[in-house]
Symmetry: C2
Subunit: 713 residues, 2 copies
């Protein structure tokens, strides 16, 4: 609704401008909490349960090693957070404990789709009670408890609260592709910690692709020996990670993508391919022709033995067989395969792949695994307990559910799109007003964010995953009604800092890489450029597996705060018409820093030629700053700009919007709004604040939509 | 020499003030390089060897897998540094290669004390030639080559240079204590990378102590099962680390400290102790009574089997048996042990320990290992190939050498002292003017920096080791004449940033921990306090193994830049008498920020009670700021302060010097100098700049000595 937008924008301003935020915080302190994902139900009361060195924890009813280890981890985290040392062991007498954890059963032996993850948490002035049916439910509740910890002049405490919580969707995952770039064990572990903190429950481990085969195979050792450049997980490491995930209530679903995306298999076993070898590990990204030969019985014997081995290594009930982007070229050019298709009446590559999948399904069934695959595996011959993962478009998700299959959504959650957290947050697997029947809706099991591996290294993977993944986590756990973008961003800022407890480097990587890029020089100007830069979506940079990933773009982070800061400042300024004073100085200062970038950046580039590629971006940032300042001065003086100014500036913006050196400028849209506002000053007789506001609303409505604002009713 | 001090101080100022540094850099650019440790001999010429995508590397003469892997690592590091992708494999035709590496032999099968580490490097406009006798020599040369990489407007290049290099001492080590706090594999690995970059060659791995037994033993599994809280290295991990070190030319010397410091052994095997059990893992630090029973044959049988197992796991020729701080209390109160001593004529605990060591020596000899132990093992009965590690005082080092034993120095290199890098740098194992004969001097094999584990966590260990360890590395590798503290600090700043390439977190940890301490608040004021704070030396804080190490002190770093910055500003100001204008404004700004700390810090503390303990420190920092500003205003006005002012301020300083919350203020000495200068204005008739300068020199001479300045001839 248009009428409410101005106020919404003002609230947004408050939430991102530091000084304004402080004021808002003091005002709203009592109502704000930092819970993420939002629980299904939560109410707060005045009062507190004190946290001091007498804080003790008791476990009643069911207990086991997993629960006790989790309680210990929670206690240590609370200690590190508060600096207070607690009693090292559990309280014997639960009636005197500060926190009493009560769960009924172990739950599934290995974390499973059917796991009961619900819990309730009640904090009174006397004690906190965490109740859950299963250990995993208790784990979820402990994360909520940790997020409740607050502090003030009197010390640390838990606010009095009553929470009843359970997830909206049972499948809430993160795919990590370790094939394009390998990720060491510690990277996986710290991300599992982060996932557990956000109540995510599936690690989808993309373990093989054209660019690398990443698991030790005892049955077929040439897979990892020749297909991995020496970068693979030993079976011990796999078990270590599976156990690490299990202890956090996270399933590990392995993916071995077949029949395409298999070049790395063929390096050691060229006989699996549909065209003669030899093969090399593929360094380029994209879709490649290599595909398994689905017509040879040896292929299935190989897969049977290999999957049998992997089935024991990965205890989860599901096994991901990929199945995406098989282009059929090798099949087409192989006369034997063509003859096979003809003899079997398989009319095209899709039919041949369906035949392959049928055979594969039998093998998986033999090893007691259920199948999950990408969109393309969907075929009427498949049994209904197959899960289809929708990656191409959300429309496939609903179509799948309507055909009676279980489905999970990934198309909307590609972290490589480098999109704002709000985009992922507002992408609902079952949006309000969906035409799915309740039965069909129930087949939509949840979703998975995807972290594809083309342009990530162990150093910066965290910054591509976090904190944005937390927004996906909330979408998949919390009620559909949780959709307040500003409040999400407010809580996200806290979550982001807390995630650093696990050693996640999303916040510390940029400064480190900027320091190294600047060498011995002050990275100040580099930081200014960094602040307004967003890495471009996957596929725009020209990279291969061997491209050094220590460029400026690798230091930038998706969804930089500057985007919302500029939005808030420009919205605030225009909403303050006709005075136009709000944020004017802050905005002018920021814009001047952009305008003045070329000189100091040039000095840095002179000593660090790796930064030379940023020169065009620096120029555009400077142009943006200058245009913004000019717009500001026309707005301040309430003087119309000269004829042609607006057109010239908008043309400049068009150029400035193009990616350069793998980056785009995150503040272009806000500058556009300023320019349009300045250009239209003289088109209206302005006499009252009301008229100004109406004018601004009208003028910016389209722009607002483009920027993804939602009316805040 | 006094006369030169003022100029030295000015040079120092230039090297730490950013603006002054820039000027100095431009001027001296052609002579400055960032090599660390300084090579034995280096000369530069005008000109360059360009680094671009045509850069190729050839290996001639001897080659093996270790060398090739090292060349590959070097190429990848150069790629990440420059952003340029090179050819993935070695050049076939060495006559066309940009870099030609030529070494003659593999060198020792496992890195050894006797290894030839020398190399030469010649860069001409046509190509770079790296020559070494051994692979390890080539590794050392590659690190030098990487440090030579420079960039300007025309791109990356190597300056033309001629380097001949070899180490002054053959034993250049770092002790890491993983017993008091466990350090995961990746922590050890990234520190090995850093060590290799600084040409260090020994990891002394302190693997057992009262607080933890950290290696899996197949022979006596209760050692790690009951003595480690589950935090130990599997034998596979040990092998992995030893191999990782070997491939970088680093020896791994394990230490299993006996007969004292052994509580963690006794948890699983109480029969080894000299007093009846049961035993628990010791959580407190310091010297404990638990000691092995040296009178039972079973003790030696156990050690024989255990050390036999470890001897195969650790290939190094040396084995460290600890031997320190055995207080003899358990021996004294055990009648059987007393009777044994009487029967053998062992008159005191030292004699009994010498008996124990003799027995131990036989066991080590049986397993083909040479013994190394701490100071206390020194005894005339020991053979001369034992190495004594001097930890109590440097005087023991020379005494040991005079008695004909090999010795290494650690007393001067305790990183836990949290002392400035310059202290370690200037501590020479064989100082100029030493009375050792050449033969005695040759017995001093080098030294080891010690990183004891009481107050370190995996998160902040890097900040306690780096960059200060680089100063020790230079002391042990470079010629004795390398002693220019300012230039050391200048190069150290570059080294420090480059070390981040390995994932070392010494520069990124503080910001991350400050963010978490401040929570959602702007950590700005916290950063101001952080800048002037130094963690106190080990032993002042009251900590145990279970103390949470996420307090403010854990975020601070030893030898903060502020100490030298304040020194340089105050020195510069006073040297600019009678104008007293140099750095006056910068200094006033810094001092005002200190003075004004209490209010913003109070706001942060209100939300983060963990910071409440810093309140006394904040008050002292504020007092320092205020006193400094007052001193500045008297100096500026050239007016004497009121009677009693100087005494009152110096009394305040005394209070401000005391550690608070585990921290001390690094700028106290500089403020003291300001106060003394202000207090003495009226004691001298000042007419000429020369008189002023003489006065300042006289006044501050004692102070300068206290601050560890050296005359710079």
């Amino acid at each position: 609704m248009k009428v409410t937008w101005v106020f919404a924008a003002l609230v947004l301003s408050c939430s991102v401008s530091a000084s304004a935020l402080d004021a808002a915080t003091t005002h709203q302190q009592t109502m704000q909490h930092n819970l993420m994902p939002l629980p299904a139900s939560v109410t707060f009361q005045e009062g507190r349960l004190k946290i001091d060195s007498s804080f003790t924890i008791a476990v009643t009813s069911y207990s086991d090693a997993r629960l006790q280890a989790a309680v210990d981890r929670m206690a240590r985290r609370m200690e590190r957070r508060t600096g207070i040392e607690f009693a090292p062991s559990l309280a014997k007498d639960s009636s005197k404990a500060t926190l009493v954890i009560q769960c009924q059963v172990a739950g599934k032996e290995v974390p499973a789709l059917e796991e009961d993850e619900s819990y309730s948490l009640e904090v009174t002035a006397q004690r906190a009670d965490l109740k859950a049916e299963t250990v995993v439910g208790a784990l979820r509740g402990m994360e909520t408890l940790l997020q409740l910890v607050a502090g003030d002049r009197e010390g640390y405490y838990l606010p009095l609260a009553k929470i009843a919580d359970n997830p909206r969707f049972p499948w809430r995952g993160l795919l990590i592709d370790v094939s394009r770039h390998f990720q060491p064990v510690e990277v996986i572990k710290r991300n599992l910690d982060g996932m557990a903190a956000l109540k995510l429950n599936v690690l989808h481990w993309h373990l093989s692709d054209d660019q690398g085969f990443r698991v030790e195979s005892l049955t077929y050792p040439k897979l990892h020996e020749m297909g991995s450049d020496g970068h693979y997980y030993t079976q011990n490491q796999v078990r270590e990670i599976v156990l690490y995930a299990q202890s956090r209530g996270i399933r590990v679903v392995p993916e071995f993508d077949v029949p395409g995306h298999t070049t790395s298999w063929f390096v050691g076993y060229p006989e699996l391919a549909s065209a003669p070898g030899p093969y090399q590990i593929q360094r380029r990204f994209g879709v490649h022709d290599g595909a398994m030969d689905p017509t040879r019985e040896e292929t299935y014997k190989f897969l049977d033995k290999f999957l049998g081995e992997m089935a024991t290594l990965f205890p989860d009930a599901y096994f991901h067989i990929g199945g995406d982007e098989s282009n059929g070229k090798q099949w087409k050019s192989n006369p034997k395969i063509q003859a096979f298709m003809e003899s079997k009446g398989l009319k095209d590559k899709d039919a041949l792949q369906a035949y392959f999948n049928q055979r594969l399904l039998k093998i998986l069934e033999k090893h007691h695994k259920k199948m999950i695959g990408w969109d393309e595996v969907l075929h009427p011959d498949l049994p209904k307990d197959v899960i289809v993962q929708s990656w191409r478009d959300v429309k496939y998700l609903h179509a799948t559910a309507k055909q009676g299959y279980n489905a999970i959504l990934s198309a909307s959650y590609y972290l490589d799109d480098m999109a704002p957290a709000s985009d992922y947050y507002l992408a609902d697997p079952i949006p309000p007003g969906s035409d799915l029947t309740p039965e069909q809706a129930a087949r939509i099991l949840g979703g998975e964010a995807c972290m594809w591996g083309e342009e990530i290294t162990p150093e910066m993977i965290d910054s591509r995953i976090w904190p944005r993944l937390a927004a996906v986590a909330e979408r998949l756990w919390s009620p559909q009604t949780a959709a307040d973008v500003q409040d999400m961003y407010r809580r996200l800022a806290t979550v982001s800092v807390r995630l650093e407890d696990f050693g996640l480097m999303h916040n510390s990587m940029p400064e480190s890489l900027l320091r190294r890029l600047a060498g011995t020089q002050d990275p100040g100007p580099l930081r200014t450029l960094w602040e307004v830069s967003n890495p471009v979506t996957l596929g725009i940079r020209e990279t291969t597996q061997t491209t050094p990933m220590t460029h400026m773009v690798d230091a930038t982070v998706p969804d930089p705060v500057s985007r919302r800061e500029y939005q808030a400042m420009v919205d605030g300024l225009l909403s303050d018409a006709p005075q136009l004073r709000t944020y004017r100085e802050e905005l002018a200062e920021k814009l001047a820093a952009l305008r003045d970038l070329p000189l100091p950046m040039s000095a840095i580039i002179d000593r660090s030629p790796i930064l030379r590629e940023t020169e065009p971006l620096v120029r555009e940032a400077s142009n943006l700053g200058e245009a913004g300042l000019e717009a500001l001065s026309y707005l301040s003086a309430k003087l119309p700009p000269p004829a042609g100014w607006e057109q010239a500036e908008l043309a400049m913006l068009k150029e400035a919007s193009k990616p350069k050196a793998g980056m785009s400028l995150a503040v272009v849209d806000s500058i556009r709004l300023l320019i349009i506002a300045a250009g239209q000053i003289d088109q209206l007789q302005i006499s009252t604040p009301e008229e100004w506001k109406n004018h601004v609303r009208e003028m910016t409505d389209e722009d607002m939509r483009k920027r993804g604002h939602k009316d805040q009713q």
